[in-house]
């Protein structure tokens, strides 16, 4: 069985035209199950962040979050509905209302 390697990748995102900057968001956990990728996002900034869209491998995807607005020092779980394939790599971008992105990379995907 291949080993799943989950790597947090923070983008060197510049500040946007308003709202929060994505470089203060951090993905702290990730888990995969069939058809879903769940990320836990921590807002390390002093400003509220709003998650607007999610991109996986250059494609906007459906996602669910209990609350897309993440207050300072709070966390939010984001469930992406995506038909990932075991053993393949995925580049995920969490896009905030300012257009800034947090990048997160899943290598050698495996249910976990």
């Amino acid at each position: 069985m291949k080993r799943a390697v989950l790597v947090v990748a923070l983008a060197a995102a510049a500040g946007g035209c308003g709202g929060s900057s994505a470089d203060e968001l951090q993905v702290t956990q990730a888990s995969l199950r069939s058809g879903q990728i769940t990320l836990v996002v921590h807002n390390a900034s002093e400003e509220t962040a709003r998650l607007a869209q999610v991109i996986v491998n250059d494609s906007f995807v459906d996602f669910r979050a209990s609350n897309r607005t993440v207050p300072p020092d709070d966390v939010e779980a984001v469930v992406l509905f995506y038909p990932w394939v075991a053993g393949e790599n995925y580049e995920i971008e969490l896009m905030t209302s300012s257009g800034s992105t947090v990048e997160y990379e899943v290598e050698d995907a495996e249910a976990a």
Partner: protein, 345 residues
């Protein structure tokens, strides 16, 4: 188009992961049940159309312009007859900075002509005299560069025509471009200030139609300007569209009539990617490159366009129902450049 910067990313990633995982934050997990139609916390694209297609569409009131209205919004200018029986058409275009919403929830600091992206669709007849008063109310020097045949001083190119007040138009300044409408065809206009890619990518462009002397056969005419945005400034586009708002026509299909002629004015104003494409599944169309001939050169279902390239496309829909249109570069389609026609009797 995304370019993976794996080395840089991975180095950043490992350090960040160690820090983040040590934070010990309390996790609030969302339900991981499959999506269904009435869950408002879920992006509803798949429930709506079978595609993940953004979170609905953007309220036109937010932007002050509507991609659907832009389809058939042709600005013929203020018209009056002048000596020799010629027609003079006049417009006023104002460059300004404006925050727009390019996908649901995603704001972008655009540069606009008349507060919209793309700018007004200017339309004239071949041989008309055109006069466009340009006012720069933005925060950077701009120009308007028209495609067409005209004197050099009217070309909107920095450093040319400055002796008569043209060239680069500084903040707070204005200039009036004046030239004859020729040749007939489908053209564009855009800012020509440096850095050029930035001035175009931020939204300073629009369509410019010159009708042939005897016009074209009647049809339901639609303007489609392919565009894209780089909201995180990484020199890669993340959001693609026709008439600016990603996935807009997935949620507001373009209404057309069964067997009625449809004419599409298709332009590609995407920066940062070398080519774009347009495909209609389940149908074929006649292609008139740049619209400068009344004879089509191709009968096809897909066209490829480089930056600034234009085509006039003519077709009829012989069946009722819903038909997609989209970039045949699948990445662009999945990042917003897709929509529907709704064909009704």
């Amino acid at each position: 188009m995304k370019v993976l910067r794996s080395t840089f990313t991975r180095r950043r990633a490992l350090a960040a992961a160690a820090s983040a995982l040590g934070a010990g934050a309390v996790t609030r997990l969302a339900s991981a049940a499959p999506p269904h139609h009435h869950d408002h916390s879920l992006v509803p694209g798949s429930a709506h159309s079978g595609f993940a297609s953004g979170d609905g569409t953007v309220d036109p009131k937010v932007n002050g312009f509507d991609p659907t209205q832009m389809l058939r919004d042709f600005d013929h200018g203020t018209i009056r007859k002048i000596a020799g029986g010629r027609t003079l058409r006049e417009w006023e275009l104002v460059a300004s900075d404006k925050e727009i919403e390019i996908a649901p929830g995603v704001k972008y600091a655009a540069w606009t002509y008349n507060g919209r992206v793309p700018g007004p669709t200017l339309r004239a007849n071949e041989g008309d005299l055109l006069r466009i008063r340009f006012i720069n109310a933005g925060t950077h020097p701009h120009t308007i560069h028209f495609h067409g045949i005209h004197p050099a001083a009217m070309d909107g190119t920095p450093g040319i025509g400055e002796d008569i007040g043209g060239g680069l138009i500084d903040v707070g300044e204005e200039f009036t471009y004046e030239f004859d409408a020729r040749p007939f065809g489908f053209h564009v206009y855009h800012c020509h200030a440096s850095p050029l890619a930035e001035h175009i990518a931020k939204g300073l462009y629009g369509a410019f139609i010159i009708d042939p002397p005897d016009g074209r056969p009647p049809a339901d005419e639609l303007l489609m300007v392919q565009n894209a945005f780089d909201p995180n400034f990484d020199e890669d586009n993340e959001v693609y569209a026709v008439n600016t708002v990603a996935f807009h026509f997935m949620y507001e299909p373009i209404a057309v009539r069964l067997d009625e002629p449809v004419r599409i004015y298709l332009a590609n104003m995407v920066e940062l990617d070398p080519v774009n494409s347009f495909h209609i599944p389940g149908n074929f169309f006649h292609r008139f490159p740049t619209g400068t001939s009344l004879e089509p050169t191709e009968y096809t279902d897909t066209v490829i366009q480089g930056q600034g390239q234009r085509d006039v496309l003519e077709l009829r829909f012989p069946y009722t129902g819903r038909y997609m249109f989209h970039a045949h570069k699948s990445e662009f389609a999945s990042l917003g450049w897709m929509g529907f026609f709704e064909v009704s009797a």
